[in-house]
Symmetry: none
Subunit: 201 residues, 4 copies
C-alpha cells in the first residue's frame, strides 16, 4: 500500500530550507544538515529528494526566477499599454517597498551572483535569469521607441544600464544599506532611465 507521493512538497520544503540558510551563510556555508534542519526534515531525506546539493541550488534558482518573472509580467500587464507606465512598473517591481523588499531573496540573489563566477552551471542559469529579465525590459523599450515616446537609441545599451542599476542596488542594499537614502532607489532609477531613454513629455 504505497503512501501518497509528496515529493513536490518535500522538494519545495528543502528549497525553502536552502533559501533560509543561504541568505545568512551563502551556498557553501549552507551545509546539508543546515538545510535539513531549516526544512525540518532529516538529513537523509534531503538526498533522497535531490541527488546533490547542486541540484537543490538549481531548484532554488528556478523557483526564484519563475516567481520573479511571473510577478513582473503581471505588474507590467497591469500597467496597461503606455510604455512609460510599463517602465515604471518594471522599476518598481524591482526596487520599490523599502528599496527591495524580501531581504532573504535579496541576499540569496547576491550570493548567487558570486556563485555564478565559480560554477559554469550556476553562471548559465544566472545569466539566463538576467537575460529573461532584460528581455522584458527590451520589449518595453522597443515598444516605447515604436510609439515615439522614447528617443531612437540602441535598446540593449539602455536595457543593460537599467538592469545594472537594479543589480547594483541589490548588492548595496544587501551589504551597505545605509548608503542608500530610504525610498530613493526607484525614483532615482526612474529619473536616470528617463535621461537615458530620452523620454518625451
Amino acid at each position: 500500500m504505497p503512501r501518497p507521493p509528496n515529493t513536490d512538497q518535500r522538494r519545495a520544503q528543502i528549497i525553502e530550507g536552502l533559501l533560509k540558510v543561504m541568505s545568512k551563510k551563502g551556498y557553501e556555508g549552507a551545509s546539508t544538515q543546515d538545510i535539513a534542519r531549516a526544512a525540518k526534515l532529516s538529513p537523509g531525506l534531503v538526498h533522497y529528494h535531490f541527488g546533490s546539493k547542486a541540484e537543490i541550488l538549481e531548484g532554488l534558482m528556478k523557483r526564484l526566477l519563475d516567481q520573479h518573472l511571473a510577478g513582473l509580467d503581471q505588474k507590467i500587464d497591469e500597467a496597461g499599454d503606455d510604455p512609460l507606465d510599463q517602465l515604471d512598473a518594471f522599476i518598481e517591481h524591482h526596487l520599490a517597498t523599502g528599496d527591495t523588499a524580501n531581504p532573504q531573496a535579496l541576499a540569496v540573489w547576491v550570493a548567487l551572483g558570486a556563485e555564478a563566477i565559480k560554477s559554469k552551471d550556476v553562471r548559465t542559469r544566472y545569466a539566463a535569469g538576467l537575460a529573461g529579465i532584460m528581455e522584458r525590459l527590451l520589449t518595453i523599450i522597443r515598444h516605447g521607441i515604436d510609439e515615439r515616446r522614447f528617443g531612437d537609441m540602441q535598446p540593449r545599451v539602455s536595457a543593460s544600464a537599467i538592469l545594472a542599476t537594479i543589480e547594483g542596488y541589490f548588492v548595496v542594499a544587501a551589504t551597505a544599506r545605509d548608503l542608500i537614502p530610504p525610498y530613493t532607489a526607484a525614483p532615482a532609477l526612474k529619473a536616470m532611465a528617463r535621461g537615458l531613454l530620452e523620454v518625451k513629455r
Copy 2:
C-alpha cells in the same frame, strides 16, 4: 647574520595568491593549499605570515581598496576643476576599458559582496570601501551644485544611484558579460548621471 626579513614581500605574494584563486573559486573555495600553491609557497608558510585565512582576506581588501582609491583620486585630480569632467573621470575610472578592466579584481569584488553578507567583519570593511568611493562622488556632486552646474538635489540620492549602477555593472560583467554591449557602460552611465544631476549645458 640573520636571513633578511621578507615578510612584506611574502604577505604581498600570499595576498596575490588569494586574489588569483578567489577570482575563480570564491573565498570559501580558496583553500589554504590553493593559496599557497598560487603564491608558490609552502602551506605552512601561509600561516607563518598570516594568523588566519580571514586575515589574508583583510589584507586583500585593504590592498584592493587602497589601490583603487589611489588611482581614483589621481584620475579625479587630473580631471581639473570642472565638476562634469570630474564626474566623467570618476565614471571612467570604474567602467572604462572594455567595461571594467581587471577581470580578476572584478570577480573578487563580487565575491566580496557575497562574503559581506555572511561575515560582519567583511561587511564592515566592504561597506567602508563603498563609503570611501561614495565620498569622492559626493564631493564632486556638491562641487557641481555649488558651481550651479548641477541642479539642486540631494547629493546622496544621486551618489548612491551612480554607485549602484557601477556595482551592478560589475556584477553583470562578471557573470553575464554578453548582456552588456561592449564599451557602452561608461557612456550609458554618463547619460544617466546627467539626467539625474540635471547637468546644465
Copy 3:
C-alpha cells in the same frame, strides 16, 4: 523503519576508546584518530556523537567518577555502622587490590590531574570529583567524632590529609610503582589515619 538508535552505546564505546588511549598517551597525545581506532569506529563518527574532543573527556570524567562513587558508597554501606569499619572500607576501596587495581583508570586519573591545571573546565570537574570523595570521608569522620570513637579534631584537616595520601599513592603507583612495597598502601594509610583521628580502642 530507521536504523535503531545506538548513540548511547557508541558514546560509551568512544569514551572507552579515550580511556584506553589516554592511559598510555595522555589527553593531548590521544588523537581523534587514535580514539576512533581504539573504539573500532571511523574517525568521522567520533564527531558525529561528540561535538569535540573536550566533550569526550567530559564524558569520561563523568563515567569514571560516577562508577567510582557508586562503588565507594556501596562498600561503605556494606561496612555497617561502625565508623572505623567505614573508614577502612573507604581506604580499601581506594588502595586495596595490589595497591590500586585498574591501572588504566589510575593512569587516566593522574593525567586528568595534570589536565586540570591547564583547563578550567577540567579543573572544575576534577575538583568536584575530589570534593565528592572527600564528602564521603567527612561523613565518616563526623560520625566517628559523634560516636566518640575518634578524637575531637577538625574533620577537614584529617579528611584532606587522607585524601592527599590516596592521591599520592595513585601518582606513585602510576609512575614509580617499585617504590611502594606490595600490598602496603592500605595498611599504612590505615595506621596513619588512626594516628590522625586519635582512634579509641
Copy 4:
C-alpha cells in the same frame, strides 16, 4: 674573534622558559615558540642549544631535582642529629609555606607525573627523583629506628606512605587547593607520620 661562550646561561634561560610555560600549559601545550618567547630568545636559538624539546624537559627535571635535593639536604643537616627533628625538617621542606610554596614548580611537578606515564625517559627520571627523595627519608627513618626513637617497622613502608602523602598534597594543592585548610598539610602529615613510625616521646 670568537665571542665568549654563553651556552650555559642560554640553556638556563630556555629551561626557565619551559618552566614558566609548562606550569600553565603542560609539556605538550608548551610549544617551542612559547618557550622561546618566555625565554626572550628566538625560536631558532632554542634548537641551537637543545637538540629537541625532550632535551629541554630533561634539563628542567635535572634542575628541579638538583635544587630540591640540595635544599632538602641542607634543611636536614640544619636540623641536627635528632631523627624526629630531621623528619619534621623533611616534611616542612616539602609542605610548609602555605602548603607548598612555589606554585609554578608545583604545577610542573604534577605535569611531570602525567608525562612520566607516557614517556619511558621521563618516567625513569621521575622515578629516580622520587627515589632520591625517598632515600633521604629512609636514612632518617633508619636512624630513628637505630636510636630507638621510632618503632621497629619496615622503613620502606613508612617512607613510601609519607612520600605518597606529600605527592598527594602537591596534586590537590595544584588542582583543588580549597579542599586543604590553610597551613594544615605539614602538621597533619607530622601527626600521621608519628602514628606510623610509633615515635617515642
